[in-house]
């Protein structure tokens, strides 16, 4: 008996309808999935699940992912489907990397916050740097995200100096005085 084949067959029936229904809420941000793109997204999701050896029993993560990321300034109509495909792949990788200790909502909050800030929409940086550092901390026993729901977590793990008010004035002073 292949339990995974059974699960996927069952899920596919419901999933397309759910994804297309998301268009109602996302089209005010100029984001819309065609039926073909929705089908492609489901295929990519299934590939990611196989790649990371995971199983989804319920409604899955795609609709949540869409709702969380639809207002991002770094996603436009042209790259929408492709960005979702990459984000869901990063999401499952991160579930494994954190050994399932972080909940879906905590991961999505963390991903969205970094995607819109330090990553400036760069998914490579999100997966390869931000999530990598955060998941390492989680594996080492860090649990602060449980209280913060994954919000405002990254600064303590960041190893780069970023622009803030003090640094901005310091550089201005160097340049003009």
């Amino acid at each position: 008996m292949d339990i995974y084949a059974l699960i996927w067959k069952e899920k596919e029936k419901k999933e397309l309808g759910t994804l297309l229904a998301c268009n109602e809420k996302t089209q005010r941000f100029g984001l819309c999935l065609t039926e073909e793109q929705a089908r492609e997204l489901v295929i990519c999701r299934n590939n990611s699940l196989k790649k990371y050896q995971r199983v989804e029993f319920g409604s899955g993560i795609l609709d949540k992912l869409i709702y969380v990321f639809c207002d991002s300034p770094y996603i436009d109509g042209g790259s929408y489907a492709e960005t979702l495909e990459k984000l869901q792949d990063v999401f499952y990788a991160f579930k494994n990397e954190t050994q399932d200790k972080v909940t879906d909502d905590e991961i999505l909050n963390f991903m969205k916050e970094q995607f819109d800030s330090v990553c400036c929409g760069d998914i490579e940086y999100l997966g390869g740097t931000c999530l990598e550092r955060f998941s390492r901390a989680v594996r080492d026993g860090y649990r602060g995200y449980e209280k913060s729901q994954g919000m405002g977590e990254y600064e303590q793990f960041s190893e780069e100096e970023r622009w803030d008010a003090d640094l901005y004035h310091e550089v201005l002073a160097e340049l003009f005085w």
Partner: protein, 269 residues
């Protein structure tokens, strides 16, 4: 004695009661519970563990049922799982009662493997056993071998069976003087305390059978060289099978005398 377990293939269609995909809602529900609905996905490893948990509990429910269920009267898998879960909890309670009885006036005869399995290993089962999500895993390794254990069992079925049989063995050993048992073990292995990893009942049963043949008191497990020679003569001319038959017959006799289930001692030879 333990009830015969229902095998997985007996449950599934077409010959069995349920189709494989009928189990999915039960597994999905258990997965929700496992993740507290905070994770929409689980690893293959976790999914397998939960699937096995559902099957284990359903087997437990069907195995305990006194009525033969037909596919028409078959409840939903989730209902069977919940009933099976209750049966698992009841079995844990029953196993705990067996354990309490086992450790009352327990002696390991100086054999570390026996003592550690009962006094150090077994409490870990009762502390860590997960009847809800992983009832098929009995966690501990049961290093001390039984006279006739059932290696096919797992989870609380294995522990219950193990404790039930261990208790029979304890009652049997209790009929002999502690020093006589220790002396016999020492005769077999001078450093038996650390090095003897086999069952204690087996040599005692064998020696007791030899004592019966020589018409010696059963509590005395020592044989002089003269008696050993006498025994050798008795067995001369018998093939292995005949010797085994003789010992089996004597073991059954000893079981009757000591209140042990005859079948258990019969299976030991």
């Amino acid at each position: 004695m333990m009830k015969n377990r229902i095998k997985v293939q007996d449950i599934f269609a077409p010959e069995g009661f349920l189709s494989a995909d009928a189990l999915l809602p039960a597994v999905a529900s258990l997965s929700d519970r496992y993740t507290s609905r905070e994770s929409s996905s689980v690893t293959y490893e976790t999914a397998n563990m939960l699937m096995e948990a559902v099957l284990y509990c359903i087997q437990e429910c069907l195995g305990e049922s006194e009525h033969v269920m037909t596919s028409d009267a078959m409840p939903e898998p989730l209902v069977l799982y919940e009933k099976g879960y209750e049966a698992v909890l009841a079995k844990v309670k029953s196993a705990n009662a067996l354990y309490e009885e086992l450790i009352k006036d327990f002696t390991d005869y100086g054999c570390r493997n026996y003592g550690d399995t009962v006094l150090k290993g077994m409490p870990a089962f009762f502390l860590k056993y997960d009847a809800r999500f992983c009832p098929q895993d009995h966690i501990i390794t049961l290093d001390y071998p039984l006279l006739a254990g059932d290696l096919e069992l797992c989870g609380v079925d294995q522990i219950h069976d193990y404790l039930h049989k261990l208790l029979m063995e304890k009652r049997f050993l209790g009929h002999f003087d502690k020093a006589a048992v220790s002396g016999l073990l020492s005769e077999l292995c001078p450093e038996y305390g650390e090095l003897y990893l086999d069952n204690i009942c087996r040599p005692v049963l064998s020696r007791a059978a030899e004592c019966l043949i020589l018409d010696k008191p059963l509590t005395d497990l020592r044989l002089s060289n003269e008696e050993k020679r006498e025994l050798q003569e008795y067995f001369t001319g018998m093939d292995r099978e005949k010797i085994r038959d003789q010992k089996r017959a004597l073991a059954v006799l000893l079981a009757k005398k000591t209140g042990v289930e005859e079948e258990y001692f019969r299976a030991a030879f």
